[in-house]
Amino acid sequence: MATSILVENATKQFTMRYHRTIKQITVAAIRKQKISDSFLAVNDVSFRIEEGESVGLMGLNGSGKSTLLKLVNGTMRPDQGSVLTRGRIAGLIATGAGFHPQLTGRDNVYLNAAILGMSEAETNRKFDEIVEFADIGRFLDTPVGHYSSGMFSRLGFAVAVHTDSDIFLIDEVLAVGDKPFKKKCLARMQEIRDEGRTMLYVSHASGSVRKMCDRVLVLERGVLGYDGPVDEGIRYLHYEEDDDDRLDESDEEEMDEELGADV
């Protein structure tokens, strides 16, 4: 087995700017307020994923999961450390695809596929399959800016799953789809996993993570807190959550059950 994703001491710093205009900046400077502040969205994270592994990436909101996925996907460059990947990468980042709102669904499929590295012939061959999977019917020639959020991510997911990729990234896609679509997605994801592709799956639903993944990474405020077997990881995460907010416990369980039931 060869390494598929190699992340070494990756750090990504975000700068928050409180004031945008010269007037605001001047006023803030006179009052000796902070003009900008920075925080580490991903802090010194290292891990290695072998080819064919499917790994769940978990953590609370704002723990840096999406940023880490963007580093792996190549839309962001780490400030320090390195991120290396092998082969073609497909997937959905931060709920939804990189679609151009002014283009029609059809044009976006071709553009998206081309960005993922597919040729025109390859896209033509898979086009019908993609459209069928997305199930957007007559909206195919409507600008995607007018799509509902469900249609938008269905089409994005359809393109991503039909790309002949080596690495597959998913970021909470199941949060938008309806029940039948969720079911279809999970079945397709399982197929992808069984094909021996590397999978990195971001989810809050421990049920589906348990079904899909054989390893879990847990991020806590940008730091990699846990790397190991699934069950232990989920327990690790729940322990943290309970500490933070006891009231939500029953809600969490309920949601989990619901998502898990779809698998």
């Binding site: 839309t75 082969g87 990468i89 151009h100 960005i115």
Partner: protein
């Protein structure tokens, strides 16, 4: 956590035997594309799609659509011709003043369109830049290509107009045209890259560019002939100012286009020599072709520098968009 770095993916692996239907195993590499303009050239299919997209979306929701990219230069032409040519009388002093002006307008309009649409290109496509990994140079480059496509019909109009007033092609003139357009393209691409990068961080830059384009019509010999400037004591007689004026690649490109399309139509008229090769200073600067080649080299070096700056900036695009 201990991890060994393995930069050579071949070592320790089983001999690579691509299964049927699977692509051969790729090397371990950074997913963040840094290939720059070289990668853009390699991914021509993607570039083609982006150019098509750009053409469709540039004038989306407007009835006249792409006609606007002709209406603007045409209106400008008519306005200048009326005020400068007829009211101020340059039409009488400069032979074929219309061609003189239009060859400059075509060049300048190509440049400003490249510059301003290129500057907006990354921000305009933020939905894609934020989520998909690709050479981000694609967007400014496709803006340049769209502007070039829009310029072709204008060049055709210029060509027809020039032929109508007696233009005959000459080898040096054609070379001048190619050189002039090359300078505008390389310089336009360089500035599009640089400002597209800056514009991500501060949207002020698209306004800066819009302001700058106001100057471009006055700092090139468009509505006044070069001769007037070269023989004036205030600029032509002042070596520093004269050199500064000719150090502008845009000026040189415009002069090259005028050398190509306007100068051959002036032979034997209003005191111009009978052979186009005899028309020199003060109608055109000394060593115009050499100046053109120098400007092309300088613009190319500038393009390389802009690409380097862009590469430094692009690491934070996804975060700041």
């Amino acid at each position: 956590m201990t991890t060994q770095i393995r930069t050579d993916p071949g070592v320790g692996d089983l001999p690579e035997k691509p299964e049927p239907g699977r692509r051969p195993r790729a090397e371990l590499a950074s997913p963040f594309s840094t290939g720059g303009l070289v990668d853009v050239v390699k991914k021509r299919y993607l570039l083609k799609l982006l150019v098509q997209k750009e053409i469709r979306s540039r004038y989306q929701g407007s009835v006249l659509g792409f006609m606007w990219s002709y209406i603007q230069p045409l209106t400008r032409f008519c306005m200048y011709f009326f005020v400068i040519g007829l009211v101020l009388g340059l039409h009488k002093n400069v032979p074929n003043f219309a061609i003189h002006m239009f060859s400059a307008i075509v060049g300048v309009h190509y440049f400003t369109e490249t510059f301003s649409s290129g500057t907006r290109s990354i921000v305009k496509n933020k939905a894609i830049v934020r989520k998909m990994a690709m050479p981000r140079e694609m967007f400014p480059v496709s803006a340049v290509i769209v502007s070039a496509i829009n310029t072709l019909p204008q060049l055709l109009i210029l060509f027809i107009g020039a032929v109508a007033v007696g233009w005959r092609p000459d080898a040096e003139g054609l070379l001048a045209a190619v050189l002039g357009l090359a300078i505008l393209t390389v310089l336009g691409t360089a500035l599009a890259l640089l400002f597209a990068g800056f514009n991500v961080f501060f949207r002020d830059f698209q306004s800066v560019v819009a302001t700058f384009t106001i100057f471009t019509h006055w700092i090139v010999p468009m509505i006044y002939p070069f001769e007037k400037l070269a023989s004036s004591p205030s600029i032509g007689g002042n070596t520093t100012l004269y050199t500064a004026y000719l150090s502008n690649p845009l000026t040189v490109a415009v002069l090259l286009l005028q050398r190509a399309f306007w100068l051959p139509t002036t032979v034997g008229k209003k005191g111009f020599p009978d052979d186009v090769h005899d028309i020199g200073f003060p109608y055109m600067p000394h060593h115009l072709m050499l100046l053109g080649v120098t400007m092309l080299v300088v613009s190319t070096i500038f393009l390389v520098l802009c690409q380097m700056v862009f590469r430094r900036l692009e690491g934070n695009f996804a975060e700041r968009l």
